[in-house]
């Protein structure tokens, strides 16, 4: 057969062509042109700035500023960095059950109290934090098909600090139609919560003497101190591993499949969360400081599809994750990028998330049962579903700058994971919905 005589060299030729034009030197001797207008060249820093405001109804609000910078030093040697500053204020659910009578709780610092009105989810309103996070990443090719990257991330909060390092390797195959990626990262966190780390499952000490509890109240101070850990683990180490494949299916469709493995060891308990112990009337007898296992192994699988139509880009992704705390979750997200003009687009998005409760999650503990080894009433590790509706608008400006605005509305609905409410709890809302709104402005230049 005649055809068998010839090899298909087009793939090789395409690769040779790509490498010929990936050489940035081609763009550099650009111009002694008479033209003096601003030639936007790839070698300048590309800066993205964003300001985000996040607000939950009656709960936490956050203001976040982001500056990201990226520079291509040629031949895909890329340095990028990001600085994030955010401040959080407001209240978050403490984990205690609501009651038909007003309740008094001690703040995690032990220095004051807060009161929760009747029929209301107890919220600890001392939630206030600022976080500064910085990361820098370098990536470069090491051969025609191979690329490596490495980076470091530092994060500092009022009561928490973290350092993480990562490395990644990408190989392009099959005429750059396939890319395989593997990445590894290590994070080392140190926690120093205000008021110290509570002794696991110790009862919250509440000063019921009239008047202000303060430094002069010696017996309260001693009792509070007795519920604090002396020494012990205050760090947390995380190892993340990732394997990914990106495949160009055809001219219009690109697909990505990732598997992620994550292992965390150390202090994983939330020092600010409690679990209520209730009697058969549903009356809260006391609040125990929660306790979580000191190890967690997570697996996740992520599948993303991007389809490029003549004008629009459709993105559909699915993530499944599960861990040895028995939390499993599914997330489906879809986005449609729709150009309005040649320089503007709008991108509506919708996301559905569903998770099952951790095996030690419990909305409360009844006083007729032994106290379990691990317990948490934190709704975030309980059974819940979340719906997110969003839209983004972006406009490219003549000078290669662009601005955009993004808005999201978010409804988180905790569900009963099969616990039977007792006594007064039957009449109270144990699984209160959380609604949040996000607005973000972007400017890139």
């Amino acid at each position: 057969m005649q055809l068998a005589k010839f090899k298909n060299i087009n793939a090789l030729l395409a690769t040779a062509t790509c490498s010929l034009f990936s050489n940035t030197v081609l763009a550099t001797p650009l111009m002694n042109a008479s033209d003096n207008s601003d030639i936007h060249n790839d070698n300048s820093w590309k800066i993205d700035t964003a300001l985000m405001y996040y607000a939950e109804t009656d709960r936490v609000s956050a203001l976040e500023g982001i500056i990201a910078a990226k520079k291509d030093f040629g031949e895909e040697h890329i340095l990028s960095g990001k600085l994030v500053f955010d401040t959080l204020t407001g209240a978050s659910a403490s984990g205690a059950v609501p009651q038909k009578t007003p309740q008094t709780y001690t703040r995690p610092s032990g220095k004051a109290q807060y009161r929760t009105p009747s029929n209301t989810t107890p919220l600890d309103d001392t939630f206030r934090d600022t976080r500064l996070q910085f990361n820098v990443q370098w990536s470069q090719p090491i051969s025609e098909q191979d690329k490596i990257s490495t980076g470091i991330q530092l994060s500092r909060e009022y009561d928490y600090q973290s350092i993480a390092v990562n490395g990644g390797y990408t190989r392009e195959l099959n005429q750059k139609n396939t890319a395989i990626f593997t990445g590894l990262s290590f994070a080392f966190d140190t926690l120093a919560p205000e008021g110290g780390r509570p002794v696991p499952l110790s009862a919250m000490v509440v000063d019921n003497t009239e008047g202000i509890s303060g430094d002069n109240n010696i017996s309260f101070k001693d009792a509070f101190e007795a519920t604090r850990q002396q020494g012990g683990e205050n760090t947390r180490n995380t190892v993340d591993l990732m394997f990914g494949v990106t495949q160009v299916i055809n001219r219009r469709w690109i697909m990505q499949l990732n598997y992620g493995y994550s292992q965390v060891d150390g202090y994983l308990t939330d020092p600010f969360k409690v679990v209520s112990v209730v009697n058969d009337q549903g009356d809260a007898l006391n609040q125990l400081h929660e306790n979580r296992p000191s190890e967690r192994t997570k697996h996740n699988i992520y599948w993303q599809n991007k389809a490029h139509f003549d004008e629009a880009v459709f993105d559909l992704s699915y993530r499944y994750s599960f861990d040895d705390w028995k939390i499993s979750s599914h997330a489906i997200e879809s986005k449609l990028r729709w150009p309005l003009t040649s320089s503007t687009y709008i991108q509506p998005s919708i996301r559905y998330y569903q998770q099952d409760a951790a095996e030690f999650y419990t909305p409360f503990i009844t006083d007729d049962q032994p106290i379990p080894e691990y317990a948490s009433a934190d709704y975030r590790i309980g059974k819940l579903t979340t719906m997110t509706f969003g839209a983004k608008y972006l406009q490219e400006l003549e000078n290669n700058h662009s601005w955009g605005v993004r808005m999201e509305y978010y409804i988180q609905t905790p569900k009963n994971a099969g616990f039977e409410a007792v006594g007064q709890l039957q009449d109270l809302e144990l699984y209160e919905e959380v609604k949040a709104f996000v607005v973000q402005f972007n400017y890139s230049f």
Partner: protein
Amino acid sequence: MHYTFKQLNKGSFYCIQFQAMASLCEVLVETQNAELVYKIGCLAEAEAKRIEAKFSRYTNNNVCYAINNAQGKPLAIDTETASLLHFAAQCYEMSDGMFDVTSGILRRAWTFDGSNRLATQAQISTLLPLVGWQQVTLTDHTLQMPTGMEIDFGGIGKEYAVNCVAQICTQQAPDISILINFGGDIQVTQARKNKQAWQIGIEDPTFKADAKIKANAASKPLKTELAIKQINIQQGGLATSGDARRYLLHNHIRYSHILNPKTGWPITNAPHSITVATAHCIQAGCLATMALLQGEHAEAFLDAQKVKYWSYH
């Protein structure tokens, strides 16, 4: 700068024109922004002329001249030249030595003027030792080849220029469809807004040959439109290789101006012209030339490449 530009097709795009590389060069820009067109015109013409000046073999003060007159000594070359020669080296490998930028020297023996004058084997035999990329030592920064050998960028230069200009156009106007056409070597940077194809005329050698015969018979002047074949292109690169006017006819054998670098003789029984469409103009140009080098098996070669092509016999 000598380019001109005008608005065409009810103002839906601008057409920039200038002369470079012995061709009419056109850049079609789908915009109403005259200022942008002005800028692209400046950059496109400057880039085309820069590449022409740098790689032309008709001048004695450029890198091509320096390479061909290095007298066997290692020569320092710039990154762009090295990249382009690395590309040529890969083409040589892929084509099993048929696509060879050192084969131009054989033209000393051959004059393709439509006549029947063949070169003598003696002439060819003296030139053959000076042909063969395997004799060239290329690194990222240097090139060394035996005295007397010559490198000719003619086979890839124009297509390369088209892609360089396309790259500049994409940088300048990332969201606009721009068609670059240097004498039939074409690149479209991206699809047009309303999915419309760019329509352009390329020389159709068969049509021209037939028309010429008919025109002679009728003793009428030939209408230029007859020589042009209309093609539609939405995105990607297109290039044509052929011998519409450059061949020898001897004993009813048509000797194409494409020379076999291994024998020094012209390829016979190849199509007159081959047009290939691929992602990049330079890629299409190389495939078209490699196909012609296969002579009567040109189409079989192209079928194996799984590309879109048009061949004319």
